[in-house]
Symmetry: C2
Subunit: 459 residues, 2 copies
């Protein structure tokens, strides 16, 4: 177990000490328990709470950590010796405590004897919340407790900007994710179904001791944004949109999307639209730097998309005005990206607390509603940049929409691109003092390079 989970004790200690500096009160964090699938012994693969992982480093089941004075104490019960018959036993508690740099370690029962006023974060599992409520003797949650809310804000402050250990884990995840995308492009040469491409891509992730950071999207119907059914067949004229990311054994995520032609060759209309999305992708990445508002990056992407669609004759007008009217959102109805870290939408368990700067809230505008991040960028943040072009029937096929935008949309011209349902290009980008670094740069984005990866025999 531990061999797969190389820790950086210095980083873990730094995290604990930085927490103490901005939140001096004692904290308890729960890892959680495996969730049953159809009976208790048949559980989903365990995923520890990301907040727990951030400070503890190891995905221990049924563990609690106490963070106080910059130290970590571990509360955990070793499995009974006879469990060795059924499972690969984890190391002894003492070994684990040393491994993660704990100051002390105790059986879980000791937790009930502690009398401090702890802050905590509510776990996603209702049964763990019951335990939390019992141990703390009070309601738990960001709405229920000012102490818990203050802790959440402090942890957001820490987790927004990554240390070298977190970045190293994300780089490792991306190495695997890039191999998975290459395998998917290669598999498409002969695949007849989304399911076959999925098997090839997720197979690479499993081979490398990783899991999927989220339900993969691998589909010829990219216009369904979170399409995770894999039930469609593939025909040579299709574009395949694959949004797939590996997660390392210690829980760090990656998140890449590529769109490629099933045949290995883009058709002219496919290439034209792909170039429009790529231009938006490249412009957004070029504009990333500390201090820039992520919302402005989103709007920049929208303008470049609109300009490209004007150039193709699909939209009519001035890109700036088109975006002001949310016309881009007819074809790009989601946000330009989100935070990435231990979660693929990092810290989304805390609602918009991480994604939105204090006193900012989601917009009602169609073109901004799904923006998941609205903060000035800081050195150490990792964000995704993922513009797209989609023909969503429920948006475009409404007679009301078509009538409303007769002037702005050339519906006849759009028909030339009718078979193109969804294109998205997504990379993971670190904000640096110098601007930014594309962590996923080893997987190319140009149509020529994508065609090469699809057809190259040498891979």
């Amino acid at each position: 177990m531990l061999s797969l989970l190389p820790l950086n004790l210095k980083a873990l200690n730094d995290r604990r000490q930085r927490l103490q500096q901005i939140f001096p009160e004692p904290v308890l964090l729960w890892s959680g328990a495996p969730l049953p699938r159809n009976f208790r012994a048949n559980a989903y693969p365990f995923r520890a709470s990301s907040h727990f992982l951030y400070f503890a480093g190891l995905p221990l089941e049924n563990a609690v950590i106490c963070l106080a004075d910059g130290n970590l104490d571990l509360y955990w019960d070793e499995p009974p010796a006879q469990a060795a018959l059924w499972q690969a036993l984890p190391p002894r508690r003492e070994t684990i405590a040393t491994y993660i740099g704990a100051r002390a370690h105790y059986p879980l029962a000791e937790l009930k004897t502690r009398r401090a006023e702890f802050a905590t974060l509510p776990h996603l599992d209702a049964q763990v919340v019951q335990e939390q409520t019992q141990v703390l003797g009070r309601k738990v949650g960001l709405m229920e407790s000012e102490r818990d809310r203050a802790l959440a804000e402090a942890i957001v402050t820490l987790r927004l900007c990554h240390d070298e250990f977190g970045l190293q884990e994300m780089r490792q995840a991306l190495t695997v994710t890039i191999a998975a995308h290459r395998a998917g492009m290669q598999r498409s040469k002969t695949a007849h179904s989304e399911a076959q491409v999925r098997a090839a891509m997720e197979g690479v992730i499993l081979e490398h001791h990783c899991t999927c950071a989220y339900g993969s999207i691998i589909t010829t119907h990219g216009e369904v944004l979170h399409n995770d059914r894999y039930t469609n067949s593939i025909t040579p004229g299709d574009l395949i949109l694959a949004d797939v990311g590996a997660e390392t054994p210690s829980g760090w995520a990656s998140d890449i999307t590529r769109t490629w032609p099933a045949s290995g060759q883009f058709t002219a209309p496919q290439r034209d639209l792909y170039q429009v999305v790529l231009a938006a992708h490249d412009a957004c990445i070029a504009a990333l730097q500390p201090g820039v508002e992520y919302r402005e990056i989103h709007l920049l992407g929208c303008r470049v998309l609109a300009a490209g669609l004007v150039e193709l004759g699909i939209l009519r007008g001035n890109p700036e005005d088109l975006v002001a009217q949310d016309l881009h959102a007819l074809f790009f109805p989601h946000g330009i990206g989100h935070l990435l870290g231990l979660d693929v939408h990092d810290m989304e368990d805390l609602g918009d607390l991480a994604g939105y700067a204090p006193n900012r809230h989601r917009s009602d505008r169609f073109g901004l509603r799904y923006l998941r991040l609205d903060r000035p960028l800081q050195v150490g943040m990792v964000v995704t940049i993922e513009p797209g072009f989609y023909q969503v029937p429920s948006i475009l096929e409404s007679a009301k929409t078509q009538a409303a935008y007769q002037a702005e949309v050339n519906w006849d011209r759009l028909a030339d691109f009718a078979s193109i349902r969804g294109i998205r290009i997504e990379d993971d980008v670190l904000i640096t003092a110098a601007g930014s670094e594309v962590l996923s740069a080893a997987l190319p984005t140009t149509p020529e390079a994508i065609e090469g990866l699809c057809t190259d025999e040498g891979i």
Copy 2:
């Protein structure tokens, strides 16, 4: 969605009517909701409750069915139209109701207006149990409600013996599982890690639109019975134990184990022990027939194993006596198998209610403690037969054990087999009027055939 889920309406109607005959009161069953992995939008793949699936046929999220008078009423809310942007929308409620042969269909809110005294089965998800408690206005559970317990007993009666539809689903799952095992054997020729073999096997399952019915066991350390870590490397002298089963889209399970030499060729000691396990496997299957006690099958398997170990010079004595003293359990500490159906341990969510006939309970004997099934066999049951031989350090390496069994175990002779850690051979068998049918017979078990599958270029 529906295209992957061909239903047999006659079978579903029969199930509903047979329930009504043995349990005439009205019943509500909940399907459940997707469980969050690290935030709500990042959920584990949804698995509906097996009891729900048995009567409804489709894995609908957040659905409730009412079974009364042999009919089914569906309570379910369609996702809002704007959800089409994010997910592949399921068909309309009306379409689904027709598809599953529902008498009527309602929004979920209607449930609260129903005033009957319903029976139910407690869902595994604590949040669903809260809903159940609210809707029924009482505590829910087999210990809390005689009505619920009576329903559980009635459903066990039905689900113990499978109809043609269930069998057809299990046969479909097995076709995929057998392909996965063949792929695993082929992959072993070049694999250096358990993770690579796992990727090949689970890839086949994904390609066929199935999921894993349980956490696969694919390991060179088969002596850890539920070893699901895949962290070991593979060396040519290793045996690979793979316990892997596909589950169909409508939730039916399969469960096969094979053990093969990583090199493609058994060594002489490996083959000798493999033959002992195979003899037990074959003897148990030959003895299966209606009316026979499954516990006797278990004891038969133990005796054949003991006899084989006596023949190899590892045990000393009379097989019957050795089993009476649980000496076989030093090397075979688990039960010979279990029920199979919608769950891999069918209905284990109800504890031992399905596995143990009324008024029977788990034995304290080491050699019987882990027996999951103790009933007379009936036509239509599907059971696994899965004898094994393991060298479990926590059992065999204790000085106390070695001293206690100096007479019965030839520890020196055992040392000749030291490198052999775990062997298991598992098949899924249907009890028929004529005796039994091995549903997984298409995957051979003899060492010669296994070697052929490992090395054959033609697959």
